[in-house]
């Protein structure tokens, strides 16, 4: 029993990253008294990201000063149903955020809207290739919301974040130099694209000569000074090379701190409590509605916080885990295929090529920004004919230079020694002359890739950890093999001295040691059918209507893009439904 009980609030937000900050703005705008509970510490540009301390690769990039502390809570992982899961003990494969701003502090800022087809993937594949094309055990689903419905919300986030980019499709008119495959947008980006660096120029030329359609990566790294609709100001990105894994000292990367908090933190009807770790959502005796949450405060005391609305904004994993710990929705069982919470966990599968150039072609790799570079979308989504290829999904292919931080971003040619004089010579000869072509591949959902509670391992508060059962399936490997052949084709056309391909092969297992992406998806999937989704198309829990669940946990499968454009778009979409419909008859189901 909690020893402390706080006065009730209209809405409690669990977690205060991108989605928490957006919900805070939107719901305080509607006049609600909103409380955000964040397990981590307070963080702001000054002092936490101030120059020069933030340019410390060891502390931030390698030791992960801004990330989740796994000593308190982690996940366990196994490859298959019959295996015993082991803890994800050190950060590697993915890097969940912690503290005010969440992963929105140390993200790169690659901005994408999903393709219209991405949101109706099962329908699209069935229409074009027939039902039989989708392999048994692959649980493709439509999102339950259309691109057209989402468009105003994508547009809204782009204005809030000051996205720099070149439009490819404005109201159906294809624009030169943009992504010709993108869905129609109502407006151009608020800022022009970031300037291109050398490697991106080479990529662009090579891709164009091969008949592909390169365009500048849309970036939440401001190309110019910008004032957003809330009056928050961004400075121009100076290509410092310390972006992903770091906070931005330059006020150039969109984060909750640079775009929303300057307004939100001063509102009288908003309260933020940091170092408040939510352990469960409290439920009424009949289990039909939430009464608030319980959290552990900075002093280790258990606190009960009553609230009329509970909004989970705790990132994909933590949202799913809190639902399982609180008994919201029926847990998924891979044996029967019944139940919804934990269903359709997915991830991404990336491949890439490291390129090494001659001394007359310096790449100055340290000149970089989180999202500066050139991309093609020709082999993503259903932008190409999958019929003869026989797999589902694809990847965006990019040449992006985020920086040349020498511990982590040191690529060496095939055969370079790992240590000794040969290693020293190799880093000296290659560091300044490297570039990379990478792919970000979609991963589908499968019956046996899912999340539940671990039977053995516990967190610092004695609660079971979340268990991930996940491995690459044949479809994913086929996709990445095809994509890496395209990456290699482009890399060759960039005429390097040598190059090195890195792609998963048949028989390779999911590896926790190497960073892949923090684009974990699913587990609390959205949809229009309560037997295959945990939340409805407004992100409202089917079984508990005063609980809403934000974040990529809502994605029925993953696409070949970074997720935050969709994640933030969904938060605006859900907030609108709460403001305009839910609040008129609180406790009611929106779908």
């Amino acid at each position: 029993m909690a020893s402390i009980k706080k006065p009730s609030v209209d809405a409690v937000l669990v977690g205060f990253g991108w989605t928490g900050a957006i919900m805070g703005m939107e719901l305080t705008d509607a006049g609600l008294h909103v409380l955000a509970l964040e397990r981590g510490e307070m963080r702001d540009t000054v002092p936490d990201f101030a120059y020069p301390r933030i340019t410390d690769e060891l502390s931030y990039g390698i030791r992960g000063k801004l990330f989740q502390n796994l000593a308190r809570e982690t996940v366990t992982v196994r490859h298959n149903l019959g295996d015993t899961a082991l803890p994800y003990r050190q950060l590697g494969s993915f890097l969940p955020g912690d503290g005010v701003g969440g992963a929105g502090v140390h993200w790169n800022g690659h901005h994408w809207r999903p393709l219209p087809d991405d949101l109706r993937l099962r329908s699209k594949y069935e229409e074009r290739y027939g039902k039989k094309f989708i392999p048994a055990g692959m649980q493709l689903q439509d999102f339950g919301v259309t691109y057209e419905e989402m468009e105003p919300h994508f547009d809204r986030f782009e204005k809030i974040a000051g996205i720099s980019g070149r439009a490819g499709n404005i109201r159906g008119q294809i624009q030169p130099g943009g992504n010709p495959f993108e869905g129609a947008r109502s407006n151009d980006f608020p800022l022009p694209p970031l300037a291109s660096i050398n490697s991106a120029l080479l990529f662009e030329k090579a891709a164009r000569e091969l008949g592909y359609h390169p365009f500048p990566q849309a970036a939440a790294n401001a190309s110019k000074a910008y004032t957003n609709p809330h009056g928050a100001q961004l400075g121009p990105c100076n290509f410092c090379g310390f972006c992903e894994r770091y906070g931005c000292y330059n006020y150039a990367k969109a984060s909750p701190q640079t775009t929303l908090l300057p307004t939100l933190l001063h509102r009288d009807n908003f309260e933020l409590r940091t170092r408040s770790h939510v352990t469960r959502v409290n439920m009424s005796a009949d289990g039909k509605h939430a009464t608030g949450v319980t959290y552990i405060d900075a002093q280790g005391r258990e606190v009960e916080q009553p609230a009329d609305l509970v909004i989970l904004c705790a990132y994909q994993f933590h949202n799913v885990r809190l639902m399982l710990l609180s008994g919201i929705g029926k847990p998924y069982d891979p044996a029967t295929g019944q139940g919804v919470v934990g269903r359709n966990y997915a991830y991404q599968l990336n491949s890439g090529v490291s390129l090494f150039f001659d001394k007359d072609q310096p790449m100055n790799p340290f000149v970089g920004a989180g999202a500066s570079g050139s991309v093609i979308d020709d082999f993503d989504g259903d932008n190409f004919d999958h019929g003869p290829l026989g797999f589902v999904g694809g990847a965006s292919i990019n040449c992006i230079t985020t920086g040349g931080r020498p511990i982590q971003q040191m690529a060496l040619p095939e055969g370079a020694p790992a240590w000794g004089g040969g290693w020293k010579k190799a880093i000296k000869d290659n560091y300044r002359y490297t570039a990379s072509v990478g792919s970000q591949g979609s991963v589908m959902s499968y019956r046996e890739n899912y999340l539940d509670l671990d039977p053995t391992y516990k967190d610092a508060y004695g609660q079971p950890l979340l268990r991930m059962t996940f491995d690459w399936r044949a479809n994913d490997i086929a996709m990445t093999q095809f994509i890496s052949s395209r990456c290699e084709q482009i890399a060759k056309a960039m005429a390097p001295k040598s190059y090195r391909v890195n792609a998963r092969k048949p028989g390779d297992h999911y590896d926790l040691r190497v960073y892949q992406s923090t684009h974990n998806t699913g587990g609390a999937v959205m949809g229009t059918d309560p037997s295959t989704s945990a939340i409805n198309r407004y992100l409202q829990a089917w079984d508990v209507p005063n609980v809403f669940v934000m974040g990529a946990s809502a994605f029925p499968q993953n696409f070949g893009y970074n997720p935050t454009g969709m994640v933030t778009g969904l938060a605006y979409w859900s907030a609108k439904a709460i403001r305009e419909r839910y609040l008129k008859s609180p406790g009611g189901a929106l779908a």
Binding site: L70, A71, Q90, N198, C237, F239, P362, V367, Y457
Partner: protein
């Protein structure tokens, strides 16, 4: 916000000053390799200061120095690991978050696992070092007439390191591959991290590879494809040259 933009203006100016002085001091983009081939000749502040280890006992310290000297040896290409102070870096790391595994999940049960699951051992890195050094010295004493690792010829030391790297040399108390993995990882970190952590003294390794360090402002260099960046590194503590 006006306060912030004033601060940003100040930052830009103060960063911009650094390169100017560095250039005036006559630093060339590629430091002459000869300077680092002879540590004493590179003189002044590049000479390793006397350092008393905080964590390692004397025989362990001899091992760490000997190993670092082989993992990044002295030659004409650039600074050695010792010259860069990597051994000092490693000692300091033993009392940091890394050495204590402070942000790793360290609760049991423990189980053997395929490598894809990462380090699954019970011991924090500082204890792996302690056990690994003892095991390596015991192995060397037995195999090479009572000599410790630090007392071996460089070529022999390389063989022992390679034996741990592949796991061909088997220890009983600790996994030789795991130990070597931490040692190599930390050695590279110490060589290439900002000098505030004790290694990469005066940014010597950054000079060798051409990383400008904490300058972190390249707006002017985006539009110059194919032109070598000319300025020497600065560190978090400021210009070093």
């Amino acid at each position: 916000m006006s306060h912030d933009s004033a601060r940003r203006g100040f930052l830009r100016r103060s960063i911009a000053i650094v390169p100017a002085t560095a250039v005036a001091a006559g630093c060339s983009p590629t430091p002459p390799p000869a300077a680092s081939a002879q540590p004493t000749a590179s003189a002044g502040n590049a000479t390793p200061a006397a350092y008393t280890p905080r964590y390692f006992h004397p025989p362990e310290w001899a091992f760490v120095q000997a190993a670092v000297a082989r993992l990044i040896p002295a030659d004409a290409e650039g600074p050695s690991g010792i010259e860069a102070g990597v051994h000092e870096f490693i000692d300091r790391q033993m009392d940091e978050v890394f050495g204590h595994a402070a942000i790793w999940y360290t609760q049991g049960p423990f189980a053997d696992a395929p490598p894809e699951f990462g380090y699954q051992g019970r011991l924090p890195p500082r204890d792996v070092y302690r056990a690994g050094i003892a095991a390596c010295d015991a192995h060397c004493r037995q195999a090479f007439d009572g000599k410790t690792f630090a007392q071996l010829e460089p070529a022999r030391q390389d063989e022992v390191l390679a034996g741990m790297e592949t796991g061909a040399i088997v220890f009983t108390d600790v996994d030789s591959k795991t130990f070597f993995g931490f040692l190599l990882q930390n050695t590279k970190e110490g060589y290439l991290a900002d000098p505030i952590h004790g290694g990469n003294r005066n940014g010597v390794a950054w000079q060798m590879i051409g990383f400008p360090g904490a300058r972190a402002d390249f707006a002017d260099w985006v539009g110059r494809p194919g032109v070598q960046y000319p300025l020497p590194p600065v560190t978090i503590a400021g210009p070093q040259a």
